[in-house]
């Protein structure tokens, strides 16, 4: 005699019951944890933006330490004076501009008739104004993104880069201090005040990056494609932001 667990009816009922039980457990877990997860994502963005304008908890020379999560909400409000959203030629203020997801905007912009929304932050620290732009591009394996801050002469004041899955020890070093700090003081305009962006360049005979006006920073050995990705990302985004930065800093 066949076992009762072999019948088709039993199999169907078991499958249905299993899906209902597992489904409800997962739904419960997801709902319970969702607020914490969204909060983590908010804090991360705020930490990154503040890091780009030099507000961080770094102590040693190699540290990349953010403002702790329990203080970041407060400090973000203090330091970031204005959050702008650029959509085509329209510029509006929006308190939650930092939550704009560039990946989603880029995907939507592929549809006709949609202009992507681009956030721009104006921060103030010790009486100095910072203009912070986000950027997003492709590394070797996956997405890379970051924030870059400028003063009113469009000189880079700080950057923050992050990545989803670059090779540890090679491309992943774009989020290390020695790479990010290289961008400080770099010019994005050439001597004729034309847009030149910043290149991650190999063999530029300036490994200590003493020349800031050459629009180049020293590349990471063994991470050519990630470096090219950073170059492309900076160029693509600064090209869009430059006119707005120029109006703001005038």
């Amino acid at each position: 005699m066949a076992k009762k667990t072999d019948s088709n009816l039993y199999t169907f009922l078991f499958a249905i019951l299993m899906v209902v039980v597992v489904g409800s457990i997962l739904a419960f877990v997801a709902t319970a944890l969702k607020p914490t997860i969204t909060e983590n994502q908010r804090f991360e963005k705020q930490q990154n933006i503040l890091y780009a304008m030099g507000v961080n908890s770094n102590e040693g020379d190699n540290d990349v330490n953010f403002i702790p999560t329990d203080k970041v909400g407060q400090l973000f409000k203090e330091y970031i004076k204005k959050q702008l959203v650029i959509q085509g030629n329209k510029v509006t203020e929006d308190e939650e501009a930092y939550l704009i997801d560039l990946a989603k905007e880029e995907a939507q912009a592929k549809k006709a008739g949609y202009e992507k929304r681009l956030p721009l932050f104006v921060g103030e620290k010790d009486g100095k104004t910072y203009y912070i732009v986000p950027m997003r591009g492709k590394g070797l394996w996956d997405a890379i993104w970051g924030f870059m801050s400028f003063d009113e002469n469009l000189v880079v004041q700080g950057v923050f880069f992050d990545h989803k899955g670059e090779t540890p020890g090679l491309g992943a070093n774009i989020k290390e201090r020695f790479f990010m700090d290289d961008f400080k003081g770099e010019f994005i305009l050439d001597e004729n005040q034309n847009f030149a962006s910043i290149k991650v360049a190999k063999g530029n005979n300036d490994p200590l990056n003493n020349r800031k006006e050459d629009n180049k920073v020293d590349a990471l050995a063994g991470a050519t494609i990630t470096g090219n990705g950073v170059t492309a990302m900076i160029k693509n985004y600064l090209r869009i932001y430059l006119p707005h930065l120029k109006t703001l800093t005038k």
């Binding site: 078991f14 899906v19 540890p168």
Partner: protein, 215 residues
Amino acid sequence: MALLSKKDRALILDPLADNNPITIQVLGICSALAITAQLKASIVMALSVLFVVSVGNVVISLIRNIIPSKIRIIVQLIVVAALVIIVDQVLKAYAYELSKQLSVFIGLIITNCIIMGRFEAFALANGPWRSFLDGIGNALGYSVILIIVGFFRELLGSGTLLGIQVLGDPITKTGLYAIGYENNGFMLLSPMALIVIGIIIWVQRSRNSKLIEEH
């Protein structure tokens, strides 16, 4: 009296050495290659797999008599998938930085052959307690290898352990770097993990000739 009977102890100890899931059964290699560039990631991965295999084994073992045999693989998959999603969500909520580092690999626990292998080979035929021990044992066997590989790759590749510089500072040239030592960037690439695992297998088999297959 011993805490565990001799048979139960074997469930935990066997997979640590003579029946190690990675070096003897050669299961779970994919994650062993992918996430072992840093010790910390290896440890978290090991803990996550420990949770998923042991709890999964118990669940499967508890329902082993009512699982319709026609769809038992699908049932196993659902159990693994559900547990993995829970681990993923918990990490995102309470260890956000790490969950970003491990990103897709947490999801890939689902495809870790060790887990399905233990469900199919052990939990379906044994009681919950023994299945639990078997899960713990196999996960520990997996963890040991992951941590050994992670240790060597991080030490030789980045000169750090758990992110702390143990060999000196490569930029300011202190410690070992002062006498010309360089980090080996190769260690950070996945193929080197395979070579490290290969060396572990070699050492293990040359110490214990029982493990060498006869041809």
